[in-house]
Structure formats: C-alpha cells, structure tokens
C-alpha cells in the first residue's frame, strides 16, 4: 500500500500569514498532487507535479504556490493566507498517468 504523509495535520493562522504544507511519499511515485476539499465542491486540484523541479497549474491555483524539491517531497505554499483558504487539504501521489492516486491523511487549515 502506497504511503503518503502530510504535515502538519492541523494548522491555524491569521489573515496575511505565511503557511507551508508538506507532503511526502515514499513509493518513488512520479506524480504528486495538492487538492483542497470543501463542502459542495468535492476535491479541487490546486497544483501537481510530474517530478522533482516540475510544477503544473491545477484548476484552482490562485493564492497558492507549490514546489517539488525532490521526488518524495511536494510543498504547498500560502504566502498571504486568506479566510477563503480555510479548507481541508489533501496531497496525493501516483506512479504514472492513469494510475491510482493514493491520498495522504489531510491537513486542516483555519485562517482567521
């Protein structure tokens, strides 16, 4: 079973704050993804990556940056957090295009 971990699991910040969400997968998967999940919207793709150094824009990228530093690590950056970014964030990974995506446990972010 693929292993995807996220940290922190919970985070509270204030409007304008700087937040970094971390994701690590230990299965040598090429693809990694960041989603946010909000009631009434399902999961929406923020950014994704094919591999270390690569970044692709997702469907709801505004207000987010991301960086894939290694094959294992994918970070989501909120440099000026806003209350609208209060959400549950999931990271996922997959080996190749078309493969099953494996999800991390999620990070709850509250922006006051």
């Amino acid at each position: 079973e693929a292993a995807v971990t996220q940290s922190p699991r919970n985070k509270v910040t204030v409007t304008g704050g700087n937040v970094t969400l971390s994701c690590r997968q230990t299965n040598s998967h090429n693809y990694m993804y960041w989603y946010r999940q909000d009631t009434g919207h399902g999961l929406r793709l923020i950014h994704y990556s094919y591999g270390a150094g690569n970044l692709q824009i997702g469907d709801v990228p505004d207000g987010y940056k991301a960086t894939r530093t290694t094959q294992e690590d994918f970070f989501l950056l909120l440099e000026l957090a806003s209350p609208s970014q209060t959400s549950l964030y999931f990271c996922a990974s997959s080996d190749a295009r078309g493969d099953t995506q494996y999800f991390g446990p999620g990070t709850r972010l509250l922006v006051l």
């Binding site: 693809y31 993804y33 989603y35 999940q37 009434g40 919207h41 399902g42 999961l43 929406r44 793709l45 994704y48 997702g58 469907d59 549950l88 999931f90 295009r97 078309g98 493969d99 099953t100 995506q101 494996y102 999800f103 446990p105 999620g106 709850r108």
Partner: protein, 111 residues
C-alpha cells in the same frame, strides 16, 4: 457545467440494506476512481476502474465509458460504512493526468 455529476448528495440507509451511488459524466472519461472519506477525514481508496466491474467485499463498482457513468453498489450496509463517498474521473484526452471529482455523497448508516 460540472463534468462529473454525482448522486445522490445524501443517502440514509438502515443496517443490512443496500443501495447504489452514481456518477454521470458529461464527456468520455478514461477511468474512474471511488473514495470514501472516513470520520477522521482520511480518503480511502475503494476502486480504480478503466472498464467493467470490480468487487471488494460488500462493495461493487462498475464503469461504462461509452455510456458515461459509473456506479458504486453497497450491500448489507454496516455502521462503519458511514462517510462521504467521492467518485473521481480521468478525462480521455492526451495529456490528461488529473482527476475531476464529484461533489460527494454523504452516506449515513442507521442502526
């Protein structure tokens, strides 16, 4: 409009009964994946289908790309089946490597 239409949005079942969740697609999808979000907020992989049907215990899923739908059948529902279920589909276009999610079905199993 939404490319993945999931129904129902909420469903309540008594223990031991069953039902089906459905996702309709507005375009041809290459594959579909079903997840359950449990009470702790984690997403659990249930099925990944590129065609046909798969069964795992009390769950069975089907995917028909041509008819643009997928279903998830639950039989003999148990309390621990409660949670929000999502389908996610992969578009059938070159370069597509992302999932488009339905809005979820909140399933409540009652004693």
């Amino acid at each position: 409009g939404d490319q993945v239409e999931q129904s129902p949005s909420a469903l309540s079942l008594h223990e031991g009964t069953g039902s089906a969740l459905r996702c309709n697609f507005t375009t041809t999808m290459r594959a579909v994946q079903w997840f359950r979000k449990n009470s702790r907020g984690s997403l659990i992989n249930l099925f990944y289908l590129a065609s046909g049907t798969k069964e795992n215990g009390r769950l069975k899923s089907a995917f028909d790309s041509k008819e643009r739908y997928s279903t998830l059948h639950i039989r003999d529902a148990q309390l621990e089946d409660s949670g929000t279920y999502f389908c996610a589909a992969e578009m059938n276009t070159e370069g597509a490597d992302r999932l488009t999610f339905g809005k979820g079905t909140q399933l409540i199993i009652q004693p």
